[in-house]
Symmetry: C2
Subunit: 154 residues, 2 copies
């Protein structure tokens, strides 16, 4: 489940995005992978990094996340709560949001993607080029302490 990314690989990706691979950027990027699916704010990334990197500054984390988002190394996550949240780029474009616990969970579903792509091919969007389609399920966990699981019935 927890995937490992070596710093060398992360460094490479930062360089490929056209940015200098500073130590701060590498550890921010690493933290985003470790927190993948948790959609942290700049503050949360900063708090996670601080113990090990005492000299890092919050301003740098803000700037770093901004530049990552601009270069599409990470994506900004939609939020109703009104703070900027980030996630390491990945394939899951869909989110499940629990309005009780405020959790935002990633949700990947190939079949859903395919369905939507084919749906929007049949729609004629004049003057708009679709870059991505994402679905947000809002609702409530029946048992806040348990996980949500999704299986196909059919």
């Amino acid at each position: 489940m927890e995937q490992h990314y070596s710093r060398d690989i992360l460094k490479q990706q930062i360089i490929e995005a056209g940015l200098k691979a500073t130590h701060q950027r590498i550890v921010v990027y690493e933290a985003l992978h470790e927190l993948h699916g948790h959609h942290p704010t700049a503050e949360e990334v900063f708090q996670r990094l601080r113990p090990v990197n005492p000299s890092i500054s919050l301003g740098t984390v803000y700037k770093t996340l901004d530049s990552f988002a601009e270069r599409e190394l990470v994506k900004r996550v939609l939020s109703e709560e009104g703070g900027k949240r980030y996630d390491a780029n990945n394939l899951a474009h869909n989110h499940i949001y629990c309005s009780n616990t405020k959790e935002i969970m990633d949700y990947q579903d190939e079949e859903l993607e395919a369905l939507l792509v084919s749906f929007f091919q049949k729609r004629n969007m004049e003057n708009f080029e679709i870059k991505s389609i994402s679905v947000q399920l809002t609702g409530t966990k029946k048992d806040p302490d348990k996980q949500i699981s999704i299986t196909r019935t059919e």
Copy 2:
């Protein structure tokens, strides 16, 4: 296109939501209807109301929008930009987001809703009750000055 809501009707809805229908709440609610589809922030609502209601305070607008959202009179709109945005409740759960102009446009599509509802009935969501499904199309307007139009081809 621009739909009219009399203050009496708005007042009625506020009361039905279990809130006292103060003048401030009525004009905030009215502004949200007038700005429907524009997804304003508290600040934007405040600026709109100020000329006609010089005594209204920004704090009240914040509190009002909060209580409206809590009572589900209005909905909070998802944003990547990290500010709280609101909209009068309506049937369109889908948004089209232009990453160049930062516009968020409402998009209603019965057929899409039906497709998704039936899709998720076939998925077995353990421990989660879906309240609403919304689709976000991210992309770019080809001509920033023109409107986006959507037609069915098939």
